[in-house]
Symmetry: C2
Subunit: 438 residues, 2 copies
Amino acid sequence: MAPGPLRIGIAGLGTVGAGTVRVLRANAGLIETRAGRAVVVTAVSARDRDRSRGIDVSGLRWHADPLRLASDPEVDVVVELIGGAEGTARALVEAALAQRRPVVTANKALIAIHGAELAAMAERAGVALAFEAAVAGGIPVIKALREGLAADRLQRVGGILNGTCNYILTQMRETGRDFAAVLAEAQALGYAEADPSTDVDGIDAAHKLAILAALAFGRPVEFGSVHVEGIRRIGAADIAFATELGYRIKLLGIARRSEQGVETRVHPCLVPAAAPIAQVEGVFNAVVAEGEFVGRLMLEGRGAGAGPTATAVVGDLIDIARGSLVPAWGASSGALSQLFSVPMSECRGGYYLRLTVRDQPGVIAEITAVLRDCGVSLKSMLQHGQADPAPDDASQGAVPIVLVTHETREASMQEAVGRIAALAVVLDRPTMIRIEPG
Amino acid sequence: MAPGPLRIGIAGLGTVGAGTVRVLRANAGLIETRAGRAVVVTAVSARDRDRSRGIDVSGLRWHADPLRLASDPEVDVVVELIGGAEGTARALVEAALAQRRPVVTANKALIAIHGAELAAMAERAGVALAFEAAVAGGIPVIKALREGLAADRLQRVGGILNGTCNYILTQMRETGRDFAAVLAEAQALGYAEADPSTDVDGIDAAHKLAILAALAFGRPVEFGSVHVEGIRRIGAADIAFATELGYRIKLLGIARRSEQGVETRVHPCLVPAAAPIAQVEGVFNAVVAEGEFVGRLMLEGRGAGAGPTATAVVGDLIDIARGSLVPAWGASSGALSQLFSVPMSECRGGYYLRLTVRDQPGVIAEITAVLRDCGVSLKSMLQHGQADPAPDDASQGAVPIVLVTHETREASMQEAVGRIAALAVVLDRPTMIRIEPG
């Protein structure tokens, strides 16, 4: 006898919620074939019952209070698509797990910040806590790390984790325009939020990186130790200089295992233009993983949007319908290892430094002396373009110069940048961008 | 109480077999953490007991006859790494399934040819038949299609499925040398077999494509309907012309759902140099999948070698240890759909055609008249380079010309090529390469 349908309660009917209902209905036959049983939405919760969402919600149980989904007798699995690390989303997930109901969520903030406790709750309840949709949308990267690559010891994971930033940086390069202009256009097109800070300040990518790092290295998720910088300070000049130097600028999430522990950081990077990750443009996401035995893998696809994200949510539901039960973090909570989080100051790499300096003799000597004193070794320098005329006073004009360093410690570089910024001949706040091999 | 170890019997201790033992031992602690129990090799079978393989086989049960692994009381899971679609490999897998023992295999020929019956046997036995290692080595593409993308209806799957061919084509482009010279070098380096035909004639890629198509479209695996061509006829001239036209030549596996059914084909293709798949070079593999909701995904990594393939084998073992049991083809055998296999003659696309013709007036007119008569519309033509001097007779020299067509039916193109080859002014067998958007 075929088992009865798996009954789904969805909290949050925004883009992803409505998309999930659509995928479950459009592919109902195919999903039943693959899941071995029907997967049907029986209950939903959203703020406004009457809003048009392009889906028919008549015949579904409607809860004004999403928490009611956790105890609705017609719901087997709770899908949390409200968002936010606290408040209702967190309360709903906790309530569902307390009722021993499996939970599927796309909520990266919740999982990055509270994922360790929630996984422990799910384990005690003996049910799944699944979050494939929380990272890189339609790319099944959680499954790849937790199951596909479970045999290997990974050294590195990360990549392009925020489509909004990648779209903005791609547009800046293609059009030569500045950050503010491209952001405004992205907002008009719906590629960036009205309040873009979660995206452009790197927070969204950092949530995702924290999740990837926990899975890759088998340690409890630790959002607080991720170093985060966004892309607001990248100027059209940086894009042009990077191109001239043979690089592209990408916002990367980087998690790396070293002898000291694990580095986790999100910041803009110069990557060689020929590196595979540099070819990933526009709203696409890409995750790179590297392991001792498996070598280097890259997974590329759409990281956001209703269709890709809903595909991931429903993929998790099919796993649950099939009876799969893999621990949320790939191992039971008690078996995770406590790896040291390496602070940013201890990370190493090459650096790009763009300065606006007074066009006068001796400037380069002054700056390079600081680098020498901080133990930072210079690899190359670019200085061209005319000085600004600055006709209204007697001072010399301003010219941009770009320095590229050999590999050095972040702490040394930070000290050098601080001292250089304080020089009288340096006219503007320096822009420092880290260089990654890609 | 923790469950006892999962006991593994491995048949075949070649590169992948020895690699599997190595991965299981090197990562034993990590694998136990993730699998929830130890995964240990207890028995092996190989031809020569005394051969040095860089692994210690003392203490393991040794079977001269691999079939004994199927009934060894100290074996819970049989890993088949013998290879070949028939003979011992097939007999062992059947014997193990008959004993209700889960089977893990890297054997693409066996799965492409007998995968449907074997999956039905596994289903009746209620055990797993797992073959992640059979396609694209360390890239978890089977899992991505069968589980990660299970919610979506895929339209297309395929990619670069044979690292040997991709290495040869990459080397040909980078060095300008001809196929034979690069093949000989690849053989010397161990990137190609002494008998390279399974690789360079496209058979290996076709096995993998048949498997991907069955998973992507939920139909029984059907190797016999894959159209297969290899890369032996690609010349240095084709590589150079392709580059001049803005393309790269890749051996692609292509499975596509159309209104008529499913196309499955493996052949060399011209792909735009800027397409993501064109950037995948050397021994790397890449699989592209495209679905209605998820959009386009690409997974890239090492498709062969001991480490990547063993990682996939052990990943399957961890799934089995975790108790996961997904049907081999993503749905029970009875639920697979019977989609029509579209013959190659009905496929459509653009074509590249390189001809060696007599350098005399009227040749182009003769050739283009044939194309017109066959209903093939010409998009562009290249003709340059000096005629061969041909000093020893009175005939005109030979010159290459390249024609690029608009989209047309394969049957029309084949007819045109046949007629063109028969023209007196055409001096050599034409080289026809299909053009793919990438």
